[in-house]
């Protein structure tokens, strides 16, 4: 039971207060927090989009470029957070030539952007630029989370342009019983939301994610922070992650409307009923080799939501990679650095 005395508690409270005081001093002399550590060059820009090439880390990188398509939600520097937590660094070290689409921060002028704009215009342009730049007909595509769903659409609509497809923590079946986001969005009037705000405000996304685990994410985490107040490196790591968590771009209104209604509420992707522009997305057209990477403890994209791809894509060369961890751990945990980039690279280099 509770073996605590009033005196012990008072001492613990006093020690905690002292750490808080020390922490505010440490914070004030912490200096800049770097996020995004691998050198990269912007090779193309259009509207808010920037296409980056990461500087290769081997003399002769693989001739087929790898394009990473991150989600529209949150910022892609999660893939390259810090020296010892960088999925991109791992892919570069394995000899891949890595590019990434940074969607930027949509503003009011982007409210009419649709998924068709993102796929037919932005993604297609980036893919063509890379094909031309490298003198190849097809490139490798790695879609992350929502970016994976967009990549599946792209690969189904333009199978001739994609050599290999890697999907990472990507929802395909949005109606699995354990899909908490689909459960929560079910009763939200998406039309009212988009018609009211134009773009979906990033603050609402922050609230949605915090509300999944408020006692840990908005409470305990900050209490635990006092334990690392005397460790500059650990404190910087915390702040870097904290910055990423709250760095939520607004979502272009029309694209959000379609994604929320067609993917989340009506689960049309797996049913083959998503229509982008005037073309239906048939996942059976995804006939290129596919590596589906999912996380066993993913609370946002449950494994079943990702693994559904096995039964609905047209690839004869479909593989899965199961990572023992969660939706964030798959990017930043020490184990992820050891396991995920080498597995992706090995799979790609063999094809």
């Amino acid at each position: 039971m509770i073996g605590l005395t009033s005196k012990q508690i008072a001492a613990e409270i006093e020690a905690f207060s002292a750490r808080l005081t020390q922490g505010s001093r440490t914070l004030s002399r912490l200096g800049d927090i770097e996020s995004g550590v691998s050198p990269r060059d912007a090779i193309y820009q259009e509207d808010k989009l920037t296409l980056y090439r990461y500087q290769p880390r081997v003399e002769n990188p693989h001739p087929v470029p790898l394009l990473i398509v991150y989600a529209l939600v949150n910022r892609p520097y999660m893939m390259d957070l810090q020296e010892d937590r960088s999925m991109i660094r791992g892919l570069l070290n394995a000899g891949l030539d890595v590019y990434l689409i940074d969607w930027g921060y949509p503003d009011a002028s982007d409210r009419t952007l649709t998924l068709a704009d993102y796929i037919y215009r932005y993604m297609d342009r980036c893919v063509d630029i890379l094909s031309e730049r490298h003198g190849v007909d097809t490139i490798n595509l790695l879609g992350v989370c929502q970016g994976g769903a967009l990549s599946l659409c792209f690969a189904a609509l333009y199978p001739e342009k994609i050599r290999n497809l890697v999907t990472m923590v990507t929802p395909v079946d949005f109606n699995t019983p354990d899909n908490i986001l689909s459960h929560l969005i079910r009763y939200i009037d998406v039309d009212l939301l988009v018609d009211t705000f134009g773009n979906l405000p990033g603050q609402m996304l922050n609230f949605a994610f915090l509300s999944l685990s408020p006692f840990r994410l908005a409470g305990q985490k900050y209490v635990d922070l006092t334990d690392v107040f005397d460790d500059i490196q650990a404190l910087k790591n915390f702040l870097r992650m904290e910055k990423w968590i709250f760095d939520s771009p607004d979502q272009a209104g029309e694209a959000f409307r379609q994604f929320a209604k067609d993917f989340f509420q009506q689960n049309k992707l797996i049913k083959g009923e998503v229509v982008i522009g005037d073309q239906r997305v048939d996942l059976h057209e995804v006939a290129m080799p596919v590596l589906n990477v999912y996380a066993t403890q993913d609370h946002l994209v449950p494994p079943a939501a990702s693994k559904a791809l096995a039964d609905c894509c047209g690839s004869q060369d479909y593989s899965e990679f199961s990572f023992q961890g969660g939706h964030i751990g798959i990017y930043v945990s020490a184990r992820a650095q050891r396991e995920v980039p080498p597995a992706i690279a090995k799979w790609l280099l063999a094809r």
Binding site: G3, E12, F16, I33, E34, Q55, Y187, G219, Y222
Partner: protein, 200 residues
């Protein structure tokens, strides 16, 4: 053109949020300290500790119910279980729908009344989850007592409290009732926006 690593100062960190939670933890400690003081007065070696603990948990649960009706009655206690409701209000305020910012016309409208009413339903759900968490915590402490284990630090007790709240909150979150009320909460707030826009 090679891009340099992007940087940001520690000022981007919401120190206010962290400090608020640290203060909440201190308040938690103070409540537990008072609680252990009173426990030590009433418990002796022959007392069944599980039974002795029960009235205190019942008392906290009653206090939660009172703080649901008026968070100012026991703000230290209210700030624990109202955490997410407060975050929701801050989100609404950051979007221009704080209670101070709304027009009198909106305040008197059906849209605002509907939003307030949904907020009450939302709070009731949170209150239920918070009370369930206390039941769970009491049960866990009794289980610990039966195995002869004891909690020996305030942090350990706080972590147990967090675990219990996450469990009961998570169960609530997955119920259709919660999804419906959460949806209504957002939809009713949006109708307030539309009303405010129309009248401005």
């Amino acid at each position: 053109m090679t891009e340099q690593t992007s940087t940001s100062g520690p000022s981007t960190f919401d120190a206010g949020l962290a400090l608020k939670q640290a203060r909440a933890y201190l308040a938690f400690g103070e409540q537990i300290r008072q609680f252990t003081d009173r426990m030590s007065e009433t418990i002796n070696d022959q007392t069944d500790k599980g039974e002795a603990l029960h009235p205190y948990f019942a008392e906290i649960k009653a206090a939660i119910t009172r703080s649901a009706e008026n968070p100012n009655i026991n703000p230290e206690l209210a700030q624990f279980w109202l955490l997410i409701a407060e975050t929701w209000c801050e989100t609404a305020a950051s979007l221009g729908m704080g209670t101070e910012a709304i027009s009198d016309e909106l305040r008197q409208s059906e849209a605002w009344r509907s939003y307030q009413s949904t907020q009450s339903e939302y709070l009731s759900l949170l209150e239920g989850a918070a009370r369930d968490a206390l039941d769970r915590m009491e049960q866990r402490l009794n289980e610990l007592a039966n195995t002869g284990k004891t909690i020996t630090s305030l942090r350990e007790l706080y972590n147990l409290w967090v675990d219990c709240n996450e469990e009961t909150y998570g169960q609530m979150l997955r119920k259709p009732t919660y999804a419906a009320i959460n949806g209504q909460l957002i939809n009713s707030l949006l109708r307030c926006y539309q009303r405010q826009d129309t009248s401005s």
